[in-house]
Amino acid sequence: MSLVLNDVTVSRGVGPVISNVSLEVKPGQITTLVGPNGAGKTSLIEAIAGVITPSGGTIVMDDVDITKLSKRKRSRAGLSIVEQGRMIFPSLTVKENLQLTARTKADMDEALALFPELEKRLNNQSILLSGGEQQMVVLARAFAAKPKYLLLDEMSLGLAPVVFMRLLPVIEGIAKSGVGVLLVEQFAHLALKIAQDSVVVTSGRVSYQGDPKALLKDAELLRQKYMG
């Protein structure tokens, strides 16, 4: 039981941006996907979530091939994504944002337990929140859906490192609750610290797959893998 990518190729415009990538995200674990800008990390995440269709390979979630499923069906099957750029619904209140995915009040309460500071902002329009709070809403909303697998794409984008540090333990907590997390992150050293598995992608290909601690210990190895 895991989220498995087999030889996934994603093409955009003139050619492939991701070539034959295979990886596995296990339940209860954080797999960190790192790489330089333009390596194809976001394209890969979008292919898993169904935003774009892979031109090759398969995506299998808990032994079910989801490669051809629509975004909505993937979401219903237990896949949640936190996209880049704080994708709140700005005209909705915090509570309404959470209600979109929470099926029961218990789901909502569990999501709010991740970020108690949101409780007093429940009836505020989400556009009026700070960047960090907006990202909390997005993460809580994704968790309220009770996902089996959670895709997190560059959550730290536009956030102060101190704010991002507040999110990291929450991501760890989500993984400990049994959710498989695929974490794409620009702050590689922070992401690798909380991960159990790591993948480095360079120019659309996997240049490293294995223990994140090895990359953390050996700065030269990390640099080499980043450069391809």
Binding site: F89, L92, E96
Partner: protein, 321 residues
């Protein structure tokens, strides 16, 4: 002596026409301005529906009125057919169902094949649908058709303005205004108090993100189209027979409705209501002044122009800032 021959000629005339031309024109302006409110209320409903659709489905639906008109003609044909002679209320139900279905089909086409297209492309499809419906109506119902039979007629009340002129308040005006308010209040409750509305607002904010969290965007979008088609058909049922309803001129009332929506910048349906009434009243006023009566339809154009210039002025100010 002059008195021996009675009052002067103009005094004698004034017995029959007690007001000067200017006074009569002023009174006609009030009477016609009020009469224009009926068409204005219809513009307002079109404007409100255009605004809601634009916000919720990212489309300026130029086919809206044509869809309602098509349903109306089907209902009326069934009413007039000597073999069927459908009751007026049943005919209205048939009209509403057909308009809703037709609108739903257009919505489905756009939601299926142009889900992420820009608003201009999606709106262009509705122009094509407008032309298709008008030409189909022409083929199906022929060139010589009767006017719609409104489901309400006559006046609710009348009152006299200073000077003795009588102003009538038609049932059509009351019904159309009531429908406009019902749409505004019901849509506000629906959007703010129900999960259906919350999902619609989420789609309106970020369609792709809504889909990614499992919202059934396509079904909800088509639902908005269906409801819009049903409502415009119901509104047409209240339109008095005095409003021209040959296929083309009736379908083109969408321009007046668009101007009403423009008053609310396609964002505020309450301002669309005000805009619709304003346009109707202004057109009525113009028709009371013989010198400008032939140009009464220019009101819509002038209003659109003024609004766009006003908007541009703000943009220039923003750039300067």
């Amino acid at each position: 002596m002059r008195e021996d021959f009675g009052p002067p000629a103009h005094d004698s005339l004034s017995r029959y026409f007690p007001y000067t031309l200017q006074e009569r024109t002023e009174k006609m302006i009030i009477v016609n301005g009020f009469a224009g409110l009926t068409q204005g209320a219809f513009f307002a409903i079109i404007g409100i529906l255009l605004t809601l659709m634009s916000q919720l489905t990212r489309v300026v639906n130029f086919s809206q009125l044509a869809v309602g008109m098509f349903g109306g003609f089907v209902g009326m044909t069934l009413m007039m057919n000597p073999d069927i002679q459908l009751n007026i209320w049943l005919a209205l139900v048939v009209s509403i169902v057909i308009s809703a279905a037709l609108s739903g089909i257009i919505g489905w086409i756009i939601a299926t094949w142009l889900p992420s297209a820009p608003i201009s492309n999606r709106s262009a499809v509705t122009v094509a649908a407008l032309l298709l419906i008008v030409s189909t109506a022409s083929v199906l119902f022929g060139a010589n058709h009767s006017n719609f039979t409104p489901i309400v007629s006559g006046n609710v009340t009348q009152f006299t303005i200073p000077g003795g002129q009588i102003v009538f308040v038609s049932q059509s005006l009351v019904a159309l205004l009531a429908l406009a308010f019902v749409i505004l209040i019901a849509s506000s409750i629906l959007l703010k108090r129900t999960m259906f509305g919350v999902r619609l607002r989420a789609i309106s904010d970020r369609q792709s993100a809504a889909e990614l969290i499992g919202v059934n965007v396509k079904v909800l979008n088509v639902g908005v189209w269906v409801i819009s088609g049903a409502l415009i058909s119901l509104a047409i049922g209240f339109v008095p027979a005095t409003i021209s309803n040959d296929y083309i001129s009736f379908s083109l009332l969408i321009i007046g409705g668009s101007a009403a929506a423009l008053v609310g910048a396609f964002k505020n349906p309450w301002l669309a209501l005000v805009g619709g009434l304003l346009i109707g009243a202004l057109q009525g006023v113009c028709s009371a002044i013989p010198q400008i009566a032939p140009y009464r339809d220019w009101v819509v154009f002038i209003l659109i122009l003024v609004f766009l210039l006003w908007n541009q002025r703000k943009e220039v100010w923003d750039v300067a800032r």
